[in-house]
Symmetry: C2
Subunit: 336 residues, 2 copies
């Protein structure tokens, strides 16, 4: 197993990325990691680890860079060179905590799409009330104006990932919609519903945004606009509720004491909603495993994302998507 | 002020609707209310109140009824007759806690649209972290596949309401989008952005779903699909967080005691997120004030919704929308 990791992406680069990488090497004796980035900054953090090499480059893509332009002009950016490692066969998968749009663009330019997949999707795993489960959301913001057949492709890719990597035998796939009954929604969701009914997946029908956190389905498909809205709504609502609870609970002496008593509980609630234990967001549809770690990833989140990348490679998720699409595409491809 | 109220709509009809109506009559000496519904059920609850009359009908539309079909076949349903009261000049506004889609359909068939408004929008007020403010969301689910000019019309209607009824001098209007910068989003939001920039409103740019609860804007516009997604996401996330907090906090003896100490605080948090203090959802764009009270409205929520209806009538919101649209439509109507 050989991984290429963008050492310069995200809020805590390169320190936490190096730490997470070293932990992963310890846990996986057969793994080799190439850290791509500024050697002067990375080397002092690494120590002597023979299974870790550094590919030096001073250039990097910033979070604020315009994705496509950045990838085109910064040809030696750490993210772009990490993708090159996979493209040229020196690595099996890429991880970056940097600019999501740029990673998608670098992936498209570098390794391209799986044949038969029209649009790659960004697929994070989100927490659910039922501990340790979570659900895969795709597309979370890669492809804004999706067509029904794109949602079908997302469903197939998500289902394969949930089966192979999350080890769910028959993953339940839901269509994000504004009502549970068939026939609800906008034109896109109505047409996608009909395609999903016929697809080689376990389609469980529409799912409303209010039910997402209940964990009743394993994979939720939608266009990138809707996916990004619900993703950020969950994030923002969690922060808003914490802020309200904190303000209210700390507003009197007695409640301060009671809150102190409850502190370990609040911590465990926060942990339950912690994205980092669920790994990074896969860029499904690219012809190689490319995984976006959360921008604020700490060492633990990087470690989890590396483990996730390993399973994606070991279980041949990309190959399985390719074969499944090849087998079934004639049946449902309306673009042919 | 004369109001027609569907006494049979919602989970707590007719008891809570009658209670809320009686409280409103007490608070407004010039008000007259016509309760529309089953007289045998309503009369025993009313007592002797000369400013309340009952328009009897045994028919009603159920929450599960298919909206358009129900309005067409149940011509004497309480909701349909309440709309008739306004249409025929016997009432100034209508309130119902019943089937939202049916209320919209009954409104469209009964009183029709304001000239110049292509699609009416459902506009609830949602709570924000900053106490007592809230923001108006439109469209929350009436018009699924909206066009850019519909969003512009929503912005104008929402802005007028926020100014007249919420008494915000210059309401800030935001466009729900997946990024803050101009140029972000799907085709709809990109085109709507350009129209909103030129509109006679205080347009503050894009707003992401994660920032909605912060209360930085007063009016948020989007298509009905996106609006319904974020509305139900906020509802569902709140329930999920409460459920997690409850389970976690009550899982040990000490935390049970601490939680009991905090009980009044939790109650005040719940109250802060209580929709009922914000009134009902207006159906903006209809040629008369039609307001949808929440399906689970209690007497207090009905009272608040009645007060809201009074302000809408007193401030001539519908007339102002009509005049504003008439004055500005030539400039921006791309459908002419």
């Amino acid at each position: 197993m050989r991984l290429a990791i963008d050492a310069m992406g995200g809020d805590n680069a390169p320190e936490e990325i190096v730490k997470g990488s070293l932990a992963a090497l310890k846990a996986n004796p057969q793994m080799h990691i190439t850290l791509v980035g500024d050697e002067a900054k990375i080397k002092p953090l690494v120590g002597s680890e023979p299974r870790l090499s550094i590919l030096h480059t001073p250039e990097k893509i910033e979070a604020t860079d315009q994705p496509v332009k950045a990838v085109r002009t910064k040809k030696n950016a750490s993210m772009v060179l990490a993708i090159q490692e996979v493209k040229e066969g020196r690595a099996d998968a890429v991880i970056s905590a940097g600019n999501t749009g740029a990673l998608m663009a670098a992936g498209l330019f570098g390794v391209g799409r799986i044949k038969g997949i029209d649009r790659p999707a960004l697929a994070p795993t989100l927490p659910t009330i039922k501990k340790g489960k979570g659900f895969l959301l795709l597309d979370a913001g890669s492809n804004m104006d999706a067509k029904p057949e794109h949602l079908l492709q997302y469903a197939i890719m998500g289902s394969i990932y949930a089966n192979k990597v999350l080890e769910i035998e028959t993953p339940k796939v839901g269509l994000l919609n504004i009502g549970e009954e068939p026939g609800k929604g906008n034109e896109l969701s109505k047409q996608a519903y009909e395609l999903l009914r016929e697809a080689p997946i376990h389609f469980t029908g529409n799912i409303e945004s209010r039910d997402l956190l209940n964990g009743d389905v394993d994979v939720v498909v939608c266009d990138g606009f809707a996916g990004n809205l619900v993703l950020k709504s969950i994030e923002g609502n969690a922060l808003a509720f914490y802020s309200i609870i904190k303000t209210e609970l700390l507003s009197s002496f007695y409640s301060k004491i009671a809150t102190a008593l409850l502190y370990p509980k609040f911590k465990s609630i926060k942990k339950m909603m912690d994205y980092s234990s669920y790994g990074g967001a896969c860029l499904f549809g690219l012809a190689a495993p490319v995984i976006k770690a959360h921008g604020s990833s700490n060492a633990k989140a990087i470690f989890t994302t590396i483990q996730q990348a390993c399973r994606i490679v070991e279980k041949n998720v990309v190959g399985t998507i390719y074969e499944t699409v090849l087998k079934t595409k004639d049946k449902w491809d309306v673009t042919n």
